[in-house]
């Protein structure tokens, strides 16, 4: 297919044709379903690179579609720099267990090499579903660094990145900070991964017998397992600073380990006693407060789960904004 043949009208016509066809199958008494439900709650743009990771991205997208039926637009950056722009439209359907209706979501795929990748951005303006939010999950470091990124991000209501997988995570936090301070909605999966750590910390200070302890806090130790220091540590340190201010010292301690996780634990230090929140084994985090200890399950966090959390927040996140501000100053 040549680039001249890819235009918005044709793609939208193809989508319309798909729905007509699905409806026809229904009225002709196909045994595939007892009805097709067309579901669109947003435009979800997924930026991916051609290659090994493509399958994982498609799988993540399919899972997300079940919970957030969307017009999905996959922007694929081809490995061949001069690959021409191509586009196609298709439907993704599934029959939820025990239901009579088949649910279908529409999907458009635009692919191009680096040289013409900006053409995908120009097409997007006509392809987003009207009157619904646009969310852009940039899953590729190369797309993040591509000149087209800014245009795609600008037309999106929310952008989701994963700073730890970008080429320069620290610089990425600076960019995110500037964008967020300018009012753009951003989600960073590296930050999202910390929600349960933060929640566990918050629950410790929910306990009434910890209030006095909180007043006597000297320092907090962030223990991490791998070098170089993960960007998640920067996030955690900035978050703790945003809450505790400058009086409490934040120490970053490398505890070498073969474990797959990056954050090993947190230790809140006072002259009398410590509160330790620590990963004891895969999936389990133990909290020790004096004689009392409790366990929390940290279940496997896959990408769809993280993106799901971000999709539930389509408004300004003041805590992330403050943390980004501190992180980009350090």
């Amino acid at each position: 297919m040549s680039s001249a043949s890819v235009d918005t009208a044709k793609l939208l016509k193809d989508l319309g044709g798909l729905w007509t066809q699905l409806g026809k199958e229904e009225t002709e008494g196909s045994d595939r379903s007892a009805g097709v439900l067309r579901a669109v709650t947003m435009t979800f743009i997924l930026g991916v690179e051609e290659g090994e990771d493509e399958a994982a991205a498609s799988e993540a997208l399919a899972l997300l579609m079940h919970e957030h039926p969307s017009r999905a637009i996959v922007l694929k950056l081809r490995s061949e720099a001069n690959a021409e722009l191509e586009g196609r439209a298709f439907a993704q359907c599934w029959m939820p267990f025990g239901r009579r209706h088949q649910i279908c979501c529409e999907q458009i795929e635009l692919s191009a090499g680096s040289a013409s990748f900006e053409d995908t951005a120009s097409l997007l303006h006509g392809l987003v579903a009207p009157d619904l939010p646009v969310v852009f999950w940039c899953r590729s470091a190369k797309i993040f660094d591509h000149p087209a990124y800014a245009e795609i991000a600008a037309m999106s209501d929310k952008v989701i990145v994963d700073s730890r997988s970008l080429s320069n995570p620290k610089a990425a936090l600076g960019l995110l900070n500037r964008e967020v301070q300018a009012g753009k909605l951003y989600g960073d999966l590296t930050w999202t991964r910390l929600t349960r750590w933060r929640q566990t910390v918050a629950s410790v200070f929910e306990r009434m017998d910890c209030q006095g302890f909180f007043l006597n806090l000297n320092s907090v130790e962030i223990r991490y397992t791998h070098v170089p220091e993960p960007i998640a540590v920067e996030y955690l340190a900035s978050w703790l600073k945003s809450v505790l201010g400058s009086k409490v010292r934040i120490d970053r301690v490398h505890r070498p380990s073969e474990a797959s996780w990056l954050i090993q634990g947190l230790c809140f230090v006072t002259a009398l006693t410590d509160v330790v929140i620590e990963r004891s084994e895969k999936g389990i985090v133990e909290t020790h407060i004096q004689k009392f200890s409790t366990r929390t399950v940290f279940e496997e966090l896959d990408e769809p789960r993280l993106v799901r959390e971000e999709l539930s927040i389509l408004e300004r996140d003041p805590i992330l904004a403050r943390v980004l501000e501190i992180a980009s100053q350090s």
Partner: protein, 518 residues
């Protein structure tokens, strides 16, 4: 030390974290019963799994059966594994969760039982840092509700020296008539203030019932039509395909009117018809529900026969199964006069709803399990397309119909007229626009008990019924109940697997309406 307040925890992130629950315990009376095993423990475990419960959270079970803590924990483990819905069971989490489970055997009519419970609660407060907050859950026979609360008070368990909260959750039925409901309320309120009494109606905990409020008050396009000017009538249906399933003896005393309409369905009806509260706060929402319930017209004895239908199913063959009639069910009196079906025409005497009939029906052994609310709008004022089968004067006329589906296939459908493109001419055909809860929000829906338990622990009583609401709904059904008690019915009057007695269809036909088939 003072209990933490919302602003006291600087680590909290309201946007991403679950609602904060202060450290606390739940004490379950009747902990060896079905409700605890099937609903309460699975719901609490699931809340723990989702990290919605505070650390140190504890459960104390009580019943007459002698058991050790360990035996009770094992019993609860088995039932959680068996009854947890759409959720994994994690052994490691259970191990930690079970550390907070305790059991104290004892007779709830014996003051010594409460003394033992107090010792256990004090120990938990000391060892697990629960701060003395306790939610008492009465999962006992309803006849014990008042005495258990009185014993709680007498044992000094209703208050805490340190100012921690003490709340009680009561399962329906809240009395068996208006007088007994008032008496129950009087005895409970002598021990605990109304703000600490949580009367659970699990229907209000259903996501889709809560969504009725979001649908009505989160949108602007429906509310202007939500009145007597545009709505012809409303049908509320709660049908069950099963019979009494071994609960014949209990059901024989309860009946459909008391078991479903007096509580669940009148609450649902109130949710559909109440005015908008000034703000979303438990008392503001409940004030509006209560006002609506008080506006329901009370039937005079001579109006009951024309406004209410009592039914009882008889035996029938459905598919290849021979289904017994109610009187043939185990534990049921062969001459029982129990209503396994009840349909009532209610009117709401207020400015918004005057003259609009609200048809409410519920029954067992109906063709399928379904609960929905159908709002039928008035027909178009002028018949422009009179040759069409969908025209307003045609027998096939299909006025706009808005259906709020509570279960199953939770969602909302709007039926409207569309031009049929086949055959030429202006032929109309009704079409349906569907919103399906499951397909738009594929995430797991919490069970009603998860929602309601979490609300009670957080001190949010929005979805719980208040004393005045209970009394208002008893007032609405009592004339029917009294009339039915005085009348001998020729039962059975509908076959298992059918949509109820003919008299019910006739009740609607008198106003030119008919039951829709859900």
């Amino acid at each position: 030390m003072q209990q933490t307040t919302d602003s006291a925890n600087p680590f909290h992130d309201a946007l991403r974290f679950e609602r904060r629950i202060p450290p606390c315990s739940v004490l379950i009376f009747g902990a060896n019963g079905d409700l605890t095993m099937r609903k309460l423990l699975p719901a609490l475990y699931r809340l723990a799994y989702e990290r919605k419960l505070p650390s140190g959270f504890s459960i104390v079970g009580n019943s007459r059966t002698a058991m050790s803590h360990e035996q009770f924990r094992e019993k609860m483990r088995v039932s959680v594994q068996k009854f947890i819905e759409n959720s994994p069971f994690d052994e490691a989490l259970w191990e930690d969760f079970a550390k907070g489970i305790y059991y104290v055997s004892g007779d709830i009519s014996d003051p010594a039982c409460y003394a033992a419970l107090k010792v256990q609660l004090d120990e938990i407060e000391r060892d697990r840092g629960t701060g003395g907050n306790v939610l008492f859950y009465l999962s006992t026979q309803p006849s014990f509700y008042a005495s258990v609360v009185e014993q709680i008070g007498a044992a000094g368990l209703a208050q805490h020296a340190g100012g921690a909260w003490r709340r009680v959750v009561i399962e329906k039925p809240f009395g068996h008539d208006l007088a007994s409901a008032k008496e129950l309320n009087r005895r409970i309120s002598a021990v605990l203030p109304e703000r600490d009494v949580y009367r659970i109606d699990h229907y209000l905990g259903k996501e889709t019932v809560q969504n009725v409020l979001a649908f009505r008050f989160g949108n602007t396009i429906f509310e202007p039509l939500w009145n007597r000017q545009y709505i012809s009538h409303v049908q509320v249906t709660a049908a069950e395909s099963i019979g009494v399933e071994g609960r014949g003896a209990y059901y024989q005393e309860a009946g459909a009117l008391r078991d479903m309409i007096q509580n669940h369905l009148l609450q649902v009806m109130a949710t559909v018809t109440m005015e908008a509260p000034p703000y979303f706060d438990s008392d503001a929402v409940r004030d509006e529900r209560a006002k609506l319930l008080r506006s329901i017209r009370i039937l005079k004895p001579d109006e009951v026969d024309s406004h209410a239908v009592k039914g009882q199913y008889g035996p029938a063959r459905v598919g290849n199964a021979d289904l017994p009639g109610f009187r043939q069910e185990q534990g049921v009196d062969p001459q029982a006069q129990t209503d396994t079906y009840a349909a009532v025409t209610f009117f709401v005497d207020n400015w918004r709803w005057a003259g609009v009939p609200f048809y409410v029906r519920t029954g067992k052994r109906m063709p399928k399990r379904v609960t929905d609310i159908a709002i039928r709008f008035n027909s178009a004022p002028l018949s422009l397309f009179s040759s069409s089968p969908g025209a307003s004067d045609s027998p096939l006329a299909a006025p706009n119909l808005l259906i709020l589906r509570i279960q199953p296939d939770e969602g909302i459908s709007l039926r409207f007229q569309s031009k049929d493109p086949s055959g030429g001419g202006m032929k109309l055909r009704p079409v349906s626009m569907d919103f399906n809860y499951g397909s738009s929000f594929g995430s797991r829906t919490p069970s009603a008990y998860e929602t309601l338990l979490l609300d009670a622990l957080a001190g949010d009583s929005t979805l719980y019924t208040r004393q005045d609401m209970v009394e208002a709904s008893w007032r609405a059904v009592e004339p029917i109940q009294n009339h039915w008690l005085e009348t001998k019915f020729d039962f059975p009057n509908y076959e298992a697997g059918s949509w109820g007695p003919k008299a019910s269809d006739e009740m609607l036909a008198r106003r030119g309406h008919e039951w829709r088939i859900p």
